[in-house]
Point group: C2
Chain length 643, copies 2
C-alpha cells in the first residue's frame, strides 16, 4: 500500500522568532512545544481553560468555534493553540500575557521579603558534614614481596583508613580496571565513594589527587518550576542556583492532568524526557557558569512531590490519581544518574529524598528536615503552598500531615486574570485613601495580571473594604467598578489603557480563591482537631514554597488562610524542598534522618476524613463561619465596620 | 589495495569424525580447538612438550623437523599438532593416548576409595540453612484507603516479615516494573532475594508462588577440570554433578603458561570465553538432565585458584606470575552472572569464594571451610594436590598456608608416559612375588600410561625394591628391565605388545616426580618449622583435590610426600573446593565464615623463605635426607634391606 507523506508546515512564533516544522494537522500548541516556545496551558490541551490563546498572523488553520473566544478575538485571528490545526505555513504571535517568563522562581531558602523573623538558622548545623559522595585521595604503598595484598583489598583498606564504611561495594568494571589505574598512578588515586543504601560504593577511581573536584546538584523538582543549586562537596559551599519552568506544563498545569495526558497518550516516556531535559539543562547551565566539568559532578539529589519524582524516574504514576492512591515507591534507593538519563559523571549517583505517600512528597519531608520541626519540643505547623497545599503539624513527639485539594487558584489557574509570578504580575494590591486601587507589579512593568500574593491582597482588600461580604459575594462598590462582564459580575482592578485590556476579578474568581484557601485551612483544622491542638499551642508556623515568601501575613489571616496566631510566630522559610535536599547531600545522617522523618509522619487522607468536608464548608467563608477562631481578623473587620 | 583471501581448508579429525574449516597456514592444534577436539598440550603450543602428536592420514602439512619425533613416527605421518601448518584439506588421526577423555574427575566430596576413615561429617551442620539467594512467596494485602503504603515499601515490609534483612536494595528496572507485577498478580508474588555484600537485593519478582523453583550451581573452576553441582535451594539437596575438562588446556596445562599465552596474544577475552563456555556447558547439561529451566537457576558460586577466577571474570591475571605476585582481587563482590557471560536467570547472581592471595585461592579457603580446620581445637594440616600443591596448617588459633612449586608431574606433565586419570591409565602398581610388575588400569582397559597415583606407586615400589636408591637413581634391576632409552636410562614397566609401545619410566621422570613431591613436602616442612609444630601434634591430615582420593597413604609417606604420622589421622576429603562452595551457597553465614577464614590465613611466600630451598633440597631424597623424620618409612625400607 503506498503511503502519502503528510506535508510539513513551517511555523514561526513571534516575538521570539523561534521556528519549527510540523506535519499538517498538528496543533499550534504541539508546534510551540517542538519550537521550544512555552505556552500557558492549564487544561492540558482539552480546549476549556482558554489560557493558550495565540494570534495567527499569516497562514491557514482549522480552528473550531469556541465559547472562550470573543467575536473580536476571532476577528483578530485569535485561536486556542491547543484546538487550532496547522493547515499551511504559519506566523503566530504569542501574546505577552501567555508567555512563561523567567520570574520570581523561589530559588533560595533565605529569602524572606515580608518577614523580619530570623530564618538564618534554617537547616544549619544539626548534622555532621559527610557528603553522600566523597572523594578521598589515597596514597597507597605499592605492593611488595612483604605486602602482597590484592589491589581490590588494598584499595578497601586505604579507604577504610579514611572513612568509616563497614560495608563496601565496587562495580565489576571498576574492579576490572583496578590494575591499570593503580599501576599507572603508582598507587596514588582518588576514590569516589558514594553512600548506597547502607553500604558505600566505590563509584569511580581517578588517577592522582582529584579530591577537590567534587560537586553535586540539589534539585527541587516542582510541578511548575524546577530549581537547582550547585554545591561544592569538598567545602559544602553553594556555588550558584538556576531555575526554569517545568516543561511538562505543556501537558497540563497540575500533575493530575499530566498523569491523565500521559495515560491517554502513552506518553510517560515523553513526560520523563521533558523533566529530565529540564534538570539536565539546569545542570549544564550551572556547570558552564561555574566552570565545572560534568564529570566532576558526582551526585544529584532530588526532592519534589511524589508525582513529579515518578515522572522523573518514569515510575508508573497512574495510581497516584486513583483510589486508593498508591505510589510505586515512596522511598527510592540511590540509582546511577545515567540510568534515569541525567547527565553528570557517567557513574555518578542520583539520590531522591523519601516521600510519605502519594500526596505528601519528598519536598515536604525536606521541609520538615530543613525547619527541624521533627526535633522541636513544642508543636509547629509547616504549610507549603504551591500547586498543592501540604500541611504538617507536629513536634519531636509525633507528626501528622495532609494534602489539601487547594488547587492552583493562587498560582493563577482558574482565575481570569491570574498569572504566575512573572514580570508585570500584580504582587501587591491595596486601597488608596480615595478608594482607588494601588498596586505594585513585579519588575515595575505595566500590569498584565495578578499573581498569588496579588490575589490574596485583592481578596483581603475587598473584604476589608466591604466590597465583598464574608461569603465572597460582591456587595457593591462606591466607585462603581463592579460590572457585568462576559463571565458574570466582575470588579475592574486596573482599567483598560491603550492596547491593554482591563484587569478584573470576577465573582467566579473569588469563589475559586476562597475554595482554595478553604482547602488549606480545612487541612490545618483537621490536623489540629484530630490531635487536639489549640492555636495557642503552636510555637511556630512555617510558610514555605511557591508564593509563601511574598505573602502578607495579616491578610492571609484576615481571609482565613492561615490560623490566627501571633504574627511573630510565623516564619517564611522559602524553598525548604531544596534546603532539605542540600542538607541531605551534605550529610549522610541528614538523609537517614529524612528517612526516619518520612516513616514517622502519619498521613491523613482528607478525602476520607469524616470532618474535612464540614470544615471545608465552614472555611468557605472569609475568614470562617466561626469568627471567634480569628480574633485579629474579627478586630480588623470590626474596625472596618466601625468606620 | 586488493586483498587476497586465505583459502580455507577442511580438516577432519578421527576417530571422532569432528570437522572444521581453517585458513591455510593454521596449526593443527588451532584447528582441533575450532573443531572442539581436545588435544593434550602441556607447553601451550611452543613445540617442546611433544604431547600433541597426531597422525596426518591425508593431505599436506608444513611441519618443521622436531627432535621429539622419531624417524619412525615421522615416516608414519606423525607431527606435533602445534607445529604443523595446514596446507590443504586434511584427515588427522588423534592417537587415543592424547585424547582427553571423561575420566576420574573428582566430582564429589564423599569419595574415599582408599580410606576407611569417616568423611561423612565433612561440611555438614555447622551453619544454619540460609541460601545466598532465597525465594519467598508473599501474599500481601492489596492497598486500600486505610493502607496506602507504596508498592516498593509494601514489598519490603512483606519480605522483612519473612527474612531478617536489615538493608535491602532493588534495581531500578525491578522498581519500575513493580506496579504491573503486583496488580496483575493481586499482590501475590515470589521475591527472589539475594545476599549482596551485607545487603539483600530483590533480584527478581515473579507472579504467584514460584518459591519451589529455586536452584543454584556450585562450580569448582580447576586448572585441569571444571566440576559443577546442581543444588535445589528450596531443599538444600544436591541434584546432580557434571564435570568437564577446562578447555583453556589448549593454551597450556598450567595457568602460568596460560597467562603467558594470553599476554603474548592479547587473548584474555578468549581465555575467558573458554572457561565461561565450559561453565555454561555444565550448567546447561545439568539443567537439561534435571529438567530445570535456566531462569530458575538464580545463583552460581565459584571457587578455584586465583588465576582461574581471574580468567573466569576477565580480571587482569598478569601480575599473578610476576613479583611481587598480586591478584587484582582476592575478594570479589557478588556480580550479576550475566555480566560475566554466565547464563542462568538473567538477573541471577554470581558469587565467588574469597582467596588468600595469588597462590592460595578460594578453592583452598573452601577446603578449610569444608574440613572445619578453622575451628578445630587441635592442629590439622590440609594438603590439596592438584596442578599445584597448596598446604594449610592451623587450628582455631591460627592458620598458615603456602603453595608449593610442586608442578604437575603427578598429573602426568613432564613425565614420558604420564597421563591424566583417564581410562587405560595405570592407577595402581606393585611388585609381584616373582619380581614382575602388577598393575591396575582405570576402567580395566589396556595400559596407556601412568596417572598420578600410579606414578606414586611406581616411585614407592621401585624404592622399596631397591631398583632406585634414595636419590632416585637406578641402581639395577634383577629382571634387566632398566635399559638405555632415547631419553637416557629408563625402566620398562609394561613391555610393548601388539601396536602398543612399551610403558617405561625414565631417570628424568623420576627426578621430576621427586622434585614435585619434594615441593609439597618442603612446603609442609616450612609451615611446621615456622610454627614450631611437631608431626605428633597433628590431630588430622586432610588430603584433598586432584588425585588425593586415589593415593596410597603408606606409599606417600614412604616416598616422603606426606609427613610420617599415624595413618588413621589421615583423611581423604575429596573435592573440598566444591564442598566448601556448596556450604557457602546454602548458608550466608558459611560465606561470611569463608571471608573470615581468608582474612585469618597467613600466607608464606616460599620463594622468599630463607629455609625453603634447604628444605626442598633435603626433600629431594626418598623419603628425605633425615630418615629419622620418617620412622615408618625407615622401618619399611629397613625390612626391605633385611630381605
Amino acid at each position: 500500500m503506498p503511503t502519502t507523506k503528510t506535508p510539513a508546515c513551517k511555523v514561526r512564533f513571534e516575538p521570539s522568532g523561534l521556528k519549527t516544522e510540523a506535519p499538517r494537522g498538528t496543533s499550534i500548541l504541539e508546534a510551540a512545544r517542538l519550537a521550544g516556545v512555552y505556552l500557558t496551558s492549564i487544561c492540558g490541551g482539552d480546549g476549556y481553560c482558554g489560557k493558550c490563546k495565540v494570534v495567527v498572523d499569516d497562514g491557514d488553520v482549522e480552528a473550531p468555534p469556541n465559547v472562550l473566544l470573543t467575536q473580536q478575538e476571532t476577528r483578530a485571528g485569535t485561536v486556542l493553540a491547543c484546538q487550532a490545526r496547522i493547515m499551511s505555513d504559519l506566523v503566530v504571535t504569542v501574546p505577552k500575557s501567555h508567555l512563561l517568563e523567567a520570574g520570581q522562581i523561589l530559588i533560595d531558602s533565605d529569602a524572606h521579603r515580608f518577614s523580619e523573623l530570623p530564618t538564618a538558622d534554617l537547616g544549619k548545623a544539626a548534622f555532621p558534614y559527610e557528603p553522600l559522595v566523597q572523594k578521598v585521595y589515597l596514597e597507597m604503598a605499592a605492593p611488595s614481596e612483604t605486602d602482597q595484598l590484592a589491589d581490590h583489598e588494598r584499595l578497601y583498606m586505604a579507604i577504610r583508613r579514611r572513612l568509616d564504611v563497614p560495608l563496601m561495594q565496587t562495580g565489576y568494571r571498576i574492579i576490572q580496571g583496578l590494575p591499570a589505574i593503580l599501576t599507572q598512578s603508582n598507587y596514588k588515586v582518588t576514590a569516589v565513594v558514594g553512600q548506597r543504601g547502607g553500604t558505600a560504593e566505590v563509584v569511580d577511581l581517578e588517577p592522582g589527587d582529584r579530591s577537590r573536584c567534587n560537586y553535586a546538584v540539589a534539585v527541587d523538582v516542582g510541578t511548575t518550576t524546577v530549581v537547582a543549586h550547585l554545591l561544592d562537596l569538598a567545602t559544602g559551599a553553594t556555588l550558584g542556583a538556576e531555575a526554569t519552568y517545568n516543561s511538562q506544563m505543556h501537558f497540563g498545569e497540575d500533575y493530575i492532568r499530566r498523569i491523565i495526558y500521559a495515560e491517554q497518550n502513552d506518553a510517560f516516556e515523553e513526560l520523563q524526557r521533558c523533566i529530565v531535559g529540564d534538570v539536565n539543562e539546569l545542570i549544564q547551565a550551572l556547570a558552564v557558569r561555574h566552570n565545572v566539568e560534568l564529570a566532576c559532578i558526582t551526585a544529584v539529589i532530588c526532592s519534589g512531590n511524589t508525582a513529579m519524582i515518578h515522572f522523573l524516574l518514569n515510575l508508573d504514576p497512574r495510581r497516584i490519581r486513583r483510589a486508593p492512591y498508591i505510589p510505586t515507591a515512596a522511598w527510592i534507593p540511590p540509582l546511577r544518574a545515567a540510568e534515569a538519563g541525567i547527565r553528570i559523571n557517567k557513574r555518578g549517583l542520583l539520590y531522591t529524598l523519601p516521600a510519605v505517600g502519594a500526596y505528601v512528597g519528598s519536598d515536604i519531608v525536606a521541609g520538615v528536615l530543613a525547619t527541624r520541626l521533627y526535633e522541636a519540643r513544642d508543636l509547629s505547623l509547616l504549610i507549603d503552598i504551591g500547586t498543592n497545599g501540604e500541611v504538617v503539624l507536629g513536634s519531636r513527639q509525633w507528626m501528622v500531615c495532609a494534602s489539601s485539594s487547594a488547587g492552583p487558584a493562587f498560582e493563577g489557574s482558574g482565575v481570569k486574570h491570574g498569572m504566575r509570578a512573572a514580570p508585570g504580575a500584580i504582587e501587591r494590591l491595596s486601597l488608596g485613601p480615595g478608594g482607588e486601587f494601588r498596586y505594585q507589579t513585579i519588575g515595575g512593568e505595566p500590569p498584565r495580571g495578578l499573581c498569588g500574593s496579588g490575589l490574596l491582597d485583592t481578596l483581603a482588600t475587598l473584604l476589608e473594604a466591604g466590597i465583598i461580604d464574608r461569603t465572597g459575594r460582591f456587595t457593591g462598590d462606591r466607585n462603581g467598578r463592579v460590572r457585568e462582564g462576559p463571565d458574570g459580575p466582575e470588579l475592574v482592578l486596573v482599567p483598560a489603557r491603550d492596547s491593554h485590556p482591563a484587569i478584573a476579578i470576577t465573582q467566579a474568581d473569588i469563589a475559586n480563591l476562597v475554595r482554595s484557601k478553604a482547602g488549606v485551612h480545612a487541612a490545618i483544622q483537621v490536623l489540629m482537631e484530630s490531635t487536639n491542638t489549640r492555636p495557642e499551642q503552636l510555637a511556630a508556623l512555617y510558610v514555605a514554597g511557591g508564593f509563601g515568601n511574598y505573602l502578607d501575613v495579616p491578610k492571609a489571616i484576615l481571609v482565613g488562610m492561615l490560623p490566627d496566631i501571633p504574627v511573630e510566630r510565623i516564619r517564611f522559610v522559602g524553598n525548604t524542598s531544596i534546603a532539605g535536599a542540600k542538607m541531605a547531600i551534605l550529610s549522610r545522617l541528614a538523609l537517614e534522618k529524612a528517612e526516619e522523618i518520612a516513616a514517622r509522619m502519619t498521613y491523613f487522607d482528607l478525602m476520607n476524613h469524616p470532618h474535612y468536608m464540614d470544615e471545608f464548608i465552614r472555611s468557605n467563608f472569609l475568614p470562617h463561619t466561626d469568627l471567634a477562631r480569628f480574633p485579629s481578623a474579627q478586630k480588623r473587620l470590626g474596625r472596618r465596620a466601625a468606620t
